[in-house]
Each structure stands twice: as structure tokens, then as C-alpha cells.
């Protein structure tokens, strides 16, 4: 209900304001241009998120001070704590960084965002900012029309900065003109009532504009035009800080439990900082006067003093919260629990990471690995083997001998329960994620999609294999039972081999060693054909059994081939260039045949 009437109400208020005051129109246009500049800036930085930002973020997870510095630096450079928050949430949801690192980045972003006030108060108001804005917008827009992603990105950043400057200029002009018609300071409220009222106004303004930066610029320009009192401006800044958490909360709605924990950490930080700042506002104001005096800021330069205040109260927030960060993590982990998930529910796919190409790729990789984990249990079950026994160090032959008690599973039922819907979610996510990707990234994405298909194909081939395997593995005919148990052993070896390589995905040689499994299985298949004649001739197995065995050995080879193909794509933890190079070196079917032809010993060696 509120949502339905909110937008028309805002429109009505703005329209009335435009009708009553042309100066208000200029101020509002300034805010709109400023916000458009922020959007453009975010768009520009997203063009560079395909690598640089992700690599930096990955390196900031080992130490808290690094996470904090990353938050400060990126927010200072990008002038948008919202973008940093959203990227951090999507990284957290994709499982790329731990919660403590995410919280560190958010604390840092709160400090970094204070540089905005310094830039506007120290630079934006002191020089004719519009004269810088015009060329930036012109050059920026020309670059946006270029083909390459990098030039486009630079264009968006340049145009974004231009629009930011232009927005500040209009806000300044508007307030200057406003001064001659209305004196807003007549509505100033002093004392704690004023602090609370203006904190609330700052909060609401930030929630509406979705940018504390825009609110802050509005406060600074109004303060410079003496349209609000210094005391009320400080309260507005506190409110703006509190309102900015809304962006993080909205960003976390679609994310998993870690994303929500981070948003709550952000809220706790800003709430604590706001409470401390409100409670100690008069002491803080005196402190700001002293610091400003040290820094050589004039007593009546209220805009720069506001920047000092903004920095001081956010620094206090960081100083209070930083020693409590481990307690905060523990509290968040105990207070916010992951929803009870079935095996089929996606764990890493998250709407907020769809537009961040590299993060989306990593999320798809991890989710497809999750799909494989589910498939692993089904394939092992189809072979009547205990998945844990395959993952252990126990000799596989022993695990096969003692598998008599393991019950048969319904592969169709298991597939519908644990694989089908997860696979559909991955496919849907891939379709949506490719919109923001480069051709090279789309290649990577398609390779991951093919890996998902390989997993599903492997399950289907296991299903075909299961029927005869269940009939013959315990047969009284020892020859056919031995052949089927040999197939079980071969596939169990493949599954174990895959697990071993998965643990060492950072080594390309290990990932490529997966081809050995294919060679081995092909050799086994050929070896079986050589033995079959002997078995039939000696009447050890019937012709019907021989046909089943030929078909099922083919299925086993396909299971292996699909799983190895999947492993070569999913297990490599190197970056996308390395993964692509590894894929290009894996041997195809013809090369495999050639290799086998060159080493015929393999065929004779197999049992």
C-alpha cells in the first residue's frame, strides 16, 4: 500500500515545488544530475570489474587491515559505498570471501565515503566546478560510443564524474538563488529535538535518493548558501549515514545468509555510530572545532568543518566496532541461520552477482560443483557403492567386496529430487548472466554449462548401466559377475581419481592428468572386447550376456568421458585464461585413439 502511494506522493510534492519555486527546480535537477552521474560512474566501474576489482578483493581476505584498506580505497576511488557494498555482498554470497573480510570492507567503505564530503567542501565549492564538468561529459559520451569495453568504461566514468560536478554546480546555484527568496534557516530547530528531527530528515532523504553521497552534497551546498544551520547539517549527515544501509539491505534481500549477515553488520555499525554521534554531538562539535583549528580551517568554514565531523564520527565508529568484530561475527552467525536447504537448492547463485561477470562465473562454477556432488552420490548409489568409501583411502576392491548390504537406489527418483531443479536453476542463471559478459567470458560460461550437461549425461548413462549391473554383479555365473564388478571397480577408480584431482585444482598438470582416466577406460573397453571372444567361445557367458556387457562397457566409458570433461572445466581453480588454456590441451577422441594406437601394450595389460 505504502509503496503504491509513495511514488505518486513524491511526484506531487516535487511538481508542487517546481510550480512554486524555479530555484527549487534547479536544486532538484542538480540532485537528479548528480544521481545520474553516480549511476554512470557505477556502470563505468562495472566494466572494470572483470578482473581487476575481483583480483584485488581476493587478495584482501587474509588480513582484516587489508579488507579495511580495500574498503577505504575503493570507496574513495569510486565515490560510491553502495557499489562496494553490493560487490562485497555478491562476493560473499558466491563464497569467495569470508564474512569477517566482508565486514572489514564495509567498515572501510564507511571511512572511504567520508572523502566525498572533503572533495565537495574542499574542491567542489571553491572552484568553478562546471567548467571541468562540460569537457568531461563531452569526452565521456564520445568514449561511451566506442566499441571496446575498456573505452566504454572510461567513457562512463568520465561522463559520470562530469555529471556529478554538474549536479553539484546546479545544487550550489539553486541554493544561492534560493537565498534571496526564502530563508530556510528560519525552520532551524536547536537542541536535541533538532538533532533528532534532522537526523530523521537526513535518513529519509537518503532512503529516497538511495545515496548518502547525494544527501551529503545537498547538505554541504545548502550549508555553503547558509540555508541550514551548522548544527542541523551535522544531524543531517548522521541521518544520511544511517540511511545508506538501506542500499545494502535491499542488495542482501536476494542473497544467501552471509549476504544478509553482512547487511545486518552494516546496519549495526551505522546504528552504533549514529547513537554515539547523537549522544555526544555537543562534545563532538567541540572536538571538531579543535581539530579544524589544528588543520588551519577557518572558524566560519562550516562546510569543511562538516567534512571533519563526518570523518571523525565514522572513525569513532570504526574504532568502537573494530575490536568487537569477532564478537559481531559470532553474534551474526548465531542470530541469522541459513534456511533449511534441500540438496537441490542452489547455494551460490544470487541475483546481485548476475551483473558482475567474474563473480557470476565463479558462482556458476561452484554451483555446478554442488550439482556434481549430488550426482556423485547418485552415480555411486547406482553402482551400489558407498560414496564415503570411494572418497576414503580404503582399497576400492575391498569396498566392492563388502558392498553386499548396500541397497539399490532409484536413479530417476534421485535425479528428480536432487539434480533436475538445481540444473534448471543453473541454466536459468547462465541465460541471465551472459548479458553482461564479454565473448571470452561467455565462452567460459558455456563451458560451465556444458560441464553441467556432462554431469547429467553421466547420471543417465549410469541409469542404463544399473539394470544389468544389478542382475549380474551377484550372479552365479562367476565370469559375468567378475566382468560387471570390474566395471564397478573402474568407475569407482574414476570417481576417486576425480576427487583427488579436485583437491589439487590449482595445478594445471593435475587437472590435465584427468585425461589418464579416459585413456584407461578406453583401454579397458578395448580389453573387454578382446576378452569377450574368449568368454563366449569357451561358453563361459551367453551371447546375450556378451551383448549386454558390450553395451554396458560403452556406458561406463561414456560416464568416464563425461565426468572427465566436467572435471577439466570445473576443478581448475586458476583464472579464466588458465582454464581456457587447459581445455585447449586436453586430448580429444581422435588424439586419444592415436595415443592408444601408439601404446598397444595398454590393451594387453588390462585384465
Amino acid at each position: 500500500m505504502i509503496r503504491k502511494i509513495l511514488l505518486p506522493t513524491i511526484f506531487a510534492i516535487l511538481a508542487y515545488g517546481f510550480w512554486v519555486s524555479p530555484d527549487f527546480k534547479i536544486i532538484a535537477a542538480g540532485v537528479a544530475i548528480f544521481l545520474f552521474g553516480m549511476l554512470s560512474l557505477e556502470e563505468g566501474f562495472k566494466a572494470f570489474t572483470g578482473g581487476l576489482l575481483e583480483n584485488l578483493l581476493r587478495r584482501t581476505t587474509d588480513r582484516l587491515w587489508k579488507s579495511l584498506s580495500f574498503g577505504v580505497v575503493t570507496t574513495t576511488v569510486m565515490q560510491s559505498s553502495s557499489l562496494v557494498s553490493v560487490i562485497t555482498i555478491s562476493f560473499l554470497s558466491a563464497g569467495l570471501i569470508p564474512l569477517i573480510a566482508g565486514i572489514g570492507i564495509i567498515f572501510g567503505a564507511n571511512l572511504g565515503t567520508t572523502t566525498g564530503a572533503w572533495l565537495v567542501a574542499g574542491f567542489g565549492l571553491k572552484v568553478n566546478i562546471a567548467s571541468y564538468a562540460m569537457p568531461m561529459v563531452v569526452f565521456g559520451v564520445i568514449l561511451i560510443f566506442q566499441k571496446t569495453k575498456e573505452l566504454k568504461g572510461i567513457g562512463y566514468v568520465l561522463a559520470g564524474l562530469g555529471f556529478l560536478f554538474l549536479g553539484i554546480h546546479y545544487m550550489k546555484e539553486g541554493f544561492d538563488a534560493f537565498k534571496s527568496t526564502i530563508d530556510l534557516t528560519a525552520y532551524a530547530v536547536s537542541g536535541y529535538a533538532g538533532v533528532l528531527l534532522f537526523t530523521l530528515i537526513g535518513l529519509v532523504a537518503t532512503v529516497i535518493m538511495q545515496s548518502s553521497h547525494a544527501t551529503l552534497v545537498l547538505i554541504i551546498t545548502a550549508l555553503a548558501a547558509q540555508q541550514i544551520t551548522y548544527e542541523n547539517a551535522l544531524a543531517l549527515a548522521i541521518g544520511a549515514n544511517l540511511g545508506t544501509t538501506i542500499t545494502a539491505i535491499i542488495g542482501s534481500l536476494s542473497s544467501n545468509v552471509d549476504g544478509r549477515r553482512l547487511a545486518v553488520a552494516h546496519l549495526i555499525f551505522n546504528l552504533t555510530t549514529a547513537i554515539v554521534a547523537i549522544a555526544l554531538i555537543f562534545q563532538l562539535t567541540r572536538g571538531v572545532d579543535t581539530i579544524s583549528h589544528w588543520l588551519g580551517i577557518a572558524d566560519d568554514d562550516y562546510t569543511l568543518k562538516l567534512a571533519v565531523f563526518h570523518t571523525v564520527f565514522n572513525t569513532i565508529g570504526v574504532l568502537i566496532m573494530l575490536p568487537l568484530i569477532n564478537t559481531l561475527v559470532k553474534f551474526l552467525q548465531s542470530a541469522l541461520h541459513a534456511k533449511v536447504r534441500t540438496m537441490a537448492q542452489p547455494r551460490y547463485l544470487n541475483v546481485s552477482s548476475i551483473s558482475l561477470a567474474d563473480t557470476a562465473l565463479e558462482a556458476v562454477r561452484k554451483e555446478t560443483l554442488h550439482l556434481y556432488d549430488n550426482a556423485f552420490d547418485i552415480i555411486a548409489g547406482g553402482l551400489r557403492l558407498d560414496p564415503q568409501a570411494i572418497r576414503s583411502e580404503r582399497p576400492l576392491a575391498e569396498a566392492i567386496d563388502s558392498s553386499g548390504r548396500i541397497r539399490s537406489i532409484d536413479i530417476d527418483e534421485q535425479y528428480n529430487l536432487n539434480v533436475k531443479s538445481l540444473y534448471s536453476e543453473i541454466i536459468a542463471y547462465i541465460s541471465r548472466a551472459q548479458a553482461s559478459m564479454t565473448p571470452a567470458q561467455i565462452d567460459d560460461l558455456f563451458a560451465l554449462r556444458a560441464a553441467g550437461k556432462d554431469v547429467v549425461e553421466a547420471i543417465k548413462d549410469t541409469k542404463h548401466l544399473q539394470k544389468n549391473l544389478d542382475i549380474y554383479r551377484g550372479s552365479n555365473n562367476l565370469s559375468i559377475a567378475a566382468e560387471y564388478n570390474a566395471i564397478r571397480l573402474e568407475l569407482a577408480t574414476v570417481l576417486r581419481g576425480l576427487e583427488r584431482v579436485r583437491e589439487r585444482g590449482d595445478d594445471s598438470a593435475e587437472v590435465l592428468s584427468l585425461d589418464e582416466l579416459k585413456v584407461e577406460m578406453k583401454a579397458n573397453d578395448k580389453g573387454l572386447l578382446a576378452r569377450l571372444d574368449h568368454l563366449v567361445r569357451k561358453d563361459l557367458i551367453s551371447a546375450q550376456m556378451a551383448t549386454s556387457l558390450i553395451n554396458d562397457s560403452g556406458y561406463a566409458y561414456h560416464v568416464t568421458k563425461n565426468l572427465v570433461k566436467m572435471g577439466e572445466v570445473l576443478f581448475s581453480s586458476g583464472d579464466s585464461g588458465i582454464r581456457s588454456a587447459e581445455r585447449s590441451l586436453a586430448l580429444d577422441a581422435d588424439e586419444m585413439e592415436q595415443l592408444l594406437a601408439e601404446s598397444p601394450a595398454d590393451i594387453e595389460e588390462t585384465p
Partner: protein, 85 residues
């Protein structure tokens, strides 16, 4: 002369196909280096192999790694040819 060189460099930079190729070459070389080290390690293990079974297993691994490395070297030389054209 300097200007010509500069123009050539700028052309190479702006040619996205060539840039992609360079990038691919860089990663391929990295993987090939790893394979080469792996091959050396396998050879050393082969020399110390205690029994025939172990020896045969290592020989198979070695043959495969060598085939993959050969494929990589071929791809590299193909890319070098394309760059020349």
C-alpha cells in the same frame, strides 16, 4: 622511424584479435611450463621406480603428458604463424 614504430605498436594494441592471441599465448605458456615440470618429475620417478607395475603406470602418465605438451607446442606455433600473417 620512431613514429612508424609507435604507429605499429598502437595498431597492435588496437587490434583486439592480436591482443586476444597474445593473452592466449601467455596462459598457454604458463600451463606448458607446469606440464614440462610435471614431465621432469615423472621422469625422475620413473628412474627410481621399484617394480615393473609402477614403471608401466609412470610410463603411461609420461606418454600422456608428453602428448598434451606436444599439442600445446603445436598450438603455440600455429598462433605465431597467425600473428605473422
Amino acid at each position: 622511424m620512431k613514429l612508424k614504430k609507435l604507429i605499429k605498436k598502437a595498431e597492435a594494441f588496437l587490434d583486439s584479435e592480436e591482443r586476444d592471441r597474445k593473452e592466449k599465448k601467455k596462459y598457454l605458456k604458463q600451463v606448458l611450463r607446469k606440464l614440462s615440470k610435471h614431465e621432469k618429475r615423472l621422469k625422475a620417478r620413473l628412474e627410481d621406480a621399484a617394480n615393473e607395475e609402477e614403471k608401466a603406470r609412470l610410463e603411461k602418465k609420461l606418454t600422456l603428458t608428453h602428448a598434451q605438451r606436444k599439442k600445446g607446442v603445436r598450438l603455440l606455433s600455429e598462433m605465431a604463424e597467425q600473428s605473422k600473417d
